[in-house]
């Protein structure tokens, strides 16, 4: 029975041109569009050096990590050169900002780095991104310093030596601080990651369509199936397998296409990229199942809901610009914590930028929890065998 349903569900799904377009072709078209639209911008941005000012106060001067990193990023001879830094006081910085001489200035105060900008453009986003990246690595660097002190058993060790060791670690790629350098920074990468997230979630259309067809309160075919002597759970399971197989084929084609043709860099850990796609597709599958079983409205309305929800989720996770992801992460982090598109995007992002799999694992775990919750709710709804009206 499982095979019978799997076989015919595959046939039904493959014959539906609309579904195939949205789940297979549309993400590829969107990725091509992003490539065409952003590659030029990115090339231009690579040439830009961002002018900033740093308030040269005591707190800044005592922050070796920022100081060293900024020294590297503003070194014209370095391949990491991307910042033109003016060290000055607050009033001059304000004046420079008013005169549009700088993108923004940084004020180190009360153990915080305050970024003061005038506009919300690409340079401002990159500046935020750089500061964020250094901040997030500061903890790891501090641990390295502590280790260095412990290993050398010398509490009065020369700070310069520690910094050099830290820098050495950094340059050894143990910490990918150099990823925020001009050479590697690709803020458009996040757009491609959101396309992968969107493709995973659009897979929901497959599961929603095929499960909808099998429910008596949703379709006439469902009524006919419901009065057959076949177990409803097996029928639904066969349908879900079929949609999952197609989802995985679609996402694999997208990954291969973006990687080989569009040259999107997914980093060195391809198996984990595929694992993200597999778990992301499961989230899409469960979203479709949830919409099919729990939401009581016609199929077109469900597709409308699905597309709207997915696009909103992708938008919030940075599809239309990384600034949005940054804003949400900073101001309403809970939104992105429960946003499956962000979980997928962030998993790919963390896989690329961090050696540690902590953040990646957290995203994968969140996706699994998201999927399980939706599947359990759908199963409870599916257990009902009679309806008040059909």
């Amino acid at each position: 029975m499982l095979y019978h349903n799997l076989k015919y569900s595959l046939k039904v799904l493959l014959k539906n041109k609309g579904l195939i377009f949205w789940t297979f072709a549309f993400p590829i078209i969107l990725a091509i569009f992003f490539k065409l639209a952003f590659s030029d911008i990115e090339n231009k941005e690579k040439l830009d050096i961002i002018n900033i000012a740093v308030i040269n106060n005591e707190e800044y001067n005592s922050d070796e990590i920022f100081k060293n990193t900024f020294a590297e990023l503003s070194n014209k001879d370095s391949e990491n050169y991307m910042l033109n830094i003016t060290y000055t006081d607050l009033s001059k910085s304000k004046k420079m900002l008013d005169n549009n001489e700088i993108t923004g200035y940084l004020l180190f105060s009360n153990n915080e780095v305050n970024i003061i900008v005038k506009n919300n453009g690409i340079n401002e986003t990159i500046l935020r991104y750089i500061v964020d990246e250094i901040q997030s690595n500061k903890e790891i660097i501090n641990n390295l310093i502590e280790n260095e002190i412990r290993e050398n058993n010398n509490f009065s060790i020369d700070y310069k030596t520690i910094t050099e060791n830290v820098k050495k670690q950094v340059l050894d790629n143990n910490i990918k601080l150099n990823n925020i350098s001009n050479k590697n920074l690709s803020y458009t990468m996040i757009e491609f990651y959101t396309v992968i997230a969107m493709a995973c979630l659009y897979g929901a259309m497959l599961s929603m369509y095929i499960v909808n067809m099998k429910l008596p309160n949703m379709s006439n075919v469902g009524k006919r199936i419901s009065i057959s002597p076949s177990n409803k759970n097996k029928i639904i399971l066969g349908s879900l397998f079929a949609s999952y197989i197609l989802e995985l084929i679609g996402i694999s084609i997208l990954l291969i296409f973006t990687s080989l043709i569009l040259k999107v860099d997914y980093g060195n850990n391809l198996p984990l990229v595929f694992l993200t796609a597999i778990v992301g597709s499961l989230a899409g599958l469960s979203l479709g199942l949830f919409l099919a079983t729990v939401i009581k409205t016609n199929e077109n309305a469900k597709i409308g809901i699905l597309i709207s929800v997915t696009m909103l989720e992708c938008f919030l996770s940075g599809m239309m610009g990384i600034t949005m992801k940054y804003i949400i992460d900073k101001n309403i982090p809970i939104i992105n914590k429960i946003n499956p598109a962000n979980m997928i995007t962030d998993a790919l992002y963390s896989l690329y930028y961090y050696d540690s799999l902590k953040r990646y694992s957290l995203n994968i775990l969140s996706l699994l929890i998201f999927s399980i919750i939706l599947i359990v709710i759908s199963y409870i709804t599916l257990r009902r065998q009679k309806y008040d009206s059909i």
Partner: protein, 312 residues
């Protein structure tokens, strides 16, 4: 004969609307039961309750002597249903559609293939095996709908308005199929609002309105409900008023009307009314184009019981 279906005191309510009101009836093995009633009379709801698709507030339903539940797979394996709305996959061919639905009942592939071909032959879709539903006309689509419901050779079939919006050729084909199935010993529950179909097909008839049974019995038994026994229609040009008045005085005449050259006379009872009328018209040298007599129809019964036409 055994009762294949036993329905007792079935009541189904949608909020404040009582769709099925305390319905009780039995269906005997091998017979065709017709559920006749206008749209919204509760026919489809009754079937959906019997099939355990719908919750109901009151009553018991037994099929093949056992209580019908959603997980009564042994009962379900002997049932076939042809719903009012066509229930097929648009993405599958005629053959694949029948194979899919038949496969929900018959696991053996060889046997299934044989059954599918039988069903295709029965409904006359041999030339359309590889066609997709959207390539079929309305009538052929209805035939596919039937094939999907009967391919597994069920002992009990529910047909819910299977001839709605089909061409006369397909309609005749569908009615012939139903007769064939009946001749093979299948028990059938047939819902329709076309009284002619019920008159042609059904052994037992239930007339429903507003969820209630108005009358049930054989065709002849139901016609007893009608107060008239005969209707005579005569096409006459320029009939004089005095002749109409004289015919009114005939024994057994109930009503008489003359509009647009059509004289319509209804009789309460009596025999040889037609002969008497022909003799009278001849004696008065009244020339007529057409004259014919009719027995009361189920529509007359419905009119008698509800005061409205079946198709109102």
């Amino acid at each position: 004969m055994n009762n294949i279906i036993e329905v007792k005191n079935l009541t189904k309510q949608y909020k404040t609307l009582t769709a099925v009101d305390n319905l009780s009836f039995n269906v005997k093995e091998g017979e065709i039961l017709g559920l006749l009633g206008p749209n919204g009379s509760g026919k489809t709801t009754t079937i959906n309750c019997i099939l355990s698709l719908l919750n109901y507030q009151k009553g018991t339903i037994k099929i093949f002597g056992k209580e019908m539940k959603p997980d009564s797979y042994d009962i379900k394996s002997k049932i076939g249903v042809i719903f009012q709305d066509v229930a097929v996959f648009e993405e599958l061919t005629v053959y694949d559609n029948i194979d899919y639905f038949c496969g929900l009942y018959i696991k053996d592939k060889k046997k299934r293939k044989e059954y599918i071909n039988d069903a295709i032959n029965l409904v006359g879709l041999n030339e359309f095996k590889k066609f997709y539903p959207k390539q079929l006309s309305g009538g052929l689509l209805r035939r596919l709908n039937i094939a999907c419901g009967i391919a597994h050779k069920p002992k009990l079939i529910f047909l819910d308005e299977p001839t709605v919006a089909v061409d006369p050729q397909s309609r005749n084909n569908i009615l012939d199929n139903i007769k064939t199935l009946r001749n093979q010993g299948t028990t059938i529950v047939y819902t329709t609002h076309y009284m002619e179909e019920v008159e042609i097909l059904c052994d037992e008839i239930i007339i429903l309105d507003k969820g209630k049974i108005l009358a049930k019995g054989t065709l002849d038994e139901l016609k007893e409900y009608a107060s008239i026994e005969e209707k005579i229609t005569v096409e006459i040009n320029d009939l004089k008023e005095e002749i109409i008045e004289e015919i009114k005085e005939f024994k057994n005449v109930d009503k008489i009307s003359y509009e647009r050259n059509i004289l319509l006379i209804t009789y309460k009872k009596g025999k040889n009314n037609l002969g008497e009328l022909i003799d009278y018209l001849k004696s008065k040298k009244v020339k007529y184009n057409k004259i014919f007599s009719e027995r009361p129809t189920l529509n007359d019964v419905f009119l008698e019981l509800t005061g409205k036409e079946l198709r109102d």
